[in-house]
């Protein structure tokens, strides 16, 4: 069998709300092969972001295990976890989350700085990434001087800064209008094809379906179904052709 870049085994997550225990994830097992474009689809509140945080090593499951590159991330110490977040995974957020006091270029080079890349090399690669997302001319602009779509492009460039194996994107189009959202999806798809990076995107945006290799449908904390691209064309394609 092909080696898995992300694998979860029976991941559950509970939140304690007063005396009440909220079961958000009720046993998620999935295997993701490298280089694929995966969408995690599901209605709002179904647990996409929670699952996403588990895969990204941002939160710990209540039970079950998460493996990145076949390493159980619960076993990592703080330093190794920081390395994982810096080098192995690139994050894209619904709210863009650029550092407001830094310029576009500084935002893109920040993960390289954390990784120990020298200033000159970081600058060069940062500009390269910015031109790949079509924003080379805006390198000196602060996030507040960029539109939402442009900020998200900078965020895509930043996520790619250290050549990660995985990009995790939680509702990357959630705060964008239709066309800008589409542009970001296309950009992510391009990056996935060109660089072979695995993209895992949580979304309820149906525009994502067209570019996905695989769609994992989540409903109420469980995997509802997993569809491959071929099956998708049959089941969803017809709906969207109208």
């Amino acid at each position: 069998m092909e080696h898995a870049i992300v694998r979860t085994t029976d991941v559950t997550k509970n939140f304690q709300l007063g005396q009440h225990q909220l079961e958000v994830l009720k046993g998620i097992s999935l295997t993701i092969a490298p280089g694929r474009y995966i969408s995690i689809m599901g209605p709002s509140g179904s647990g996409k972001s929670t699952l996403f945080n588990m895969i990204g090593g941002l939160d710990k499951p209540s039970s079950g295990k998460v493996f990145i590159d076949e390493v159980d991330i619960a076993q990592l110490d703080a330093y190794e976890l920081a390395w994982l977040r810096c080098r192995k995974i690139g994050y894209i957020f619904q709210t863009f989350n650029l550092i407001p006091v830094m310029t576009a270029l500084e935002n893109v080079t920040l993960p390289m700085t954390f990784a120990g890349t020298s200033g000159d090399e970081a600058m060069e690669r940062g500009m390269e990434l910015l031109s790949q997302v079509g924003l080379a001319s805006r390198y000196g602009h602060k996030p507040s001087e960029l539109s939402g779509g442009q900020q998200q492009r900078v965020a895509v460039a930043r996520a790619l800064a250290n050549n990660p194996a995985i990009i995790l994107a939680d509702e990357p189009t959630g705060n964008l209008d239709l066309t800008t959202g589409e542009e970001i999806i296309t950009l992510l798809k391009e990056m996935s094809v060109e660089r072979g990076v695995t993209i895992i995107s949580a979304t309820h945006d149906f525009k994502m379906l067209n570019v996905s290799d695989e769609v994992i449908w989540i409903r109420d904390g469980r995997i509802d179904k997993i569809e491959k691209r071929e099956e998708l064309n049959i089941s969803v394609g017809t709906i969207h052709e109208r």
């Binding site: 972001s49 996403f52 945080n53 990204g56 941002l58 939160d59 390493v71 990592l76 703080a78 330093y79 190794e80 920081a82 390395w83 994982l84 977040r85 810096c86 080098r87 994050y91 957020f93 619904q94 709210t95 989350n97 650029l98 550092i99 407001p100 006091v101 830094m102 500084e106 920040l110 993960p111 700085t113 954390f114 990784a115 120990g116 602060k142 930043r158 939680d170 509702e171 959630g174």
Partner: protein
């Protein structure tokens, strides 16, 4: 799994400096209470330095001026100290200033939760975040405390000129005043650091998931 190399200190300074520059107004507010408290401390001590220099000159006119200026010369040690009331006021103002800094820095941490969380997602360790806040506070402290000490020293000299007369200029205690000003600056930097310790620890412990939170 590997580990990240430590963030070079120069880089940390660069990031902290940018952050202060970009938030100049907020930094100014955080620093203002420090400027005032350090100015007060330095003012009181410079006045004492000048009075002591005058006393050391020992001329009858000098003693006359000191008594007219309201200084208590009954102390047998041959030096003039700050009155107990003045000392209390200074300690109190420094205390109020630290509380003000803690308050302002806690607000800054709350405002910056997303930024801090994002940095952690990008690979910043707890200690990197802690260091950034400490450097920011030191820089603010250095600028605020030097400004305050300078202001206080100038005010002390001017007010002594008014109360004791131009006699103080004949044996002007340069070294004493310089060392007082430096000490006040140092104390100011220290206060700024003390004030940021708790907020900085709070920021450093912030979970990276905080960055993902979407305001509802």
């Amino acid at each position: 799994m590997d580990r990240l190399p430590p963030l070079p200190l120069a880089k940390s300074f660069e990031i902290a400096y940018k952050s202060i520059k970009a938030r100049f107004f907020r930094s100014l507010i955080t620093t203002t209470s420090l400027v005032l408290a350090v100015a007060f401390l330095c003012y009181i001590q410079v006045c004492t330095d000048l009075a002591n220099a005058l006393l050391a000159s020992g001329t009858p006119e000098a003693i006359q001026a000191l008594i007219r200026g309201g200084f208590d010369l009954s102390d047998q040690t041959g030096t003039i100290g700050e009155s107990a009331k003045q000392q209390w006021l200074v300690v109190l103002s420094l205390l109020v200033c630290v509380v003000g800094i803690v308050n302002a820095q806690l607000m800054a941490v709350t405002e910056r939760f997303r930024e801090i969380g994002t940095m952690k997602c990008l690979g910043a360790l707890d200690r990197v975040v802690l260091l950034l806040f400490l450097i920011e506070a030191s820089l603010q402290g250095l600028v605020g405390a030097s400004a305050g000490a300078l202001l206080g020293a100038i005010a002390g000299v001017l007010s002594s000129l008014a109360s004791l007369g131009s006699m103080i200029l004949t044996d002007f205690p340069w070294t004493a005043i310089l060392s007082t000003t430096l000490k006040a600056t140092l104390i100011g930097c220290l206060l700024s650091l003390i004030g940021v310790i708790y907020p900085a620890i709070k920021a450093a412990r912030m979970e990276p998931v905080e960055a993902m939170r979407v305001e509802q």
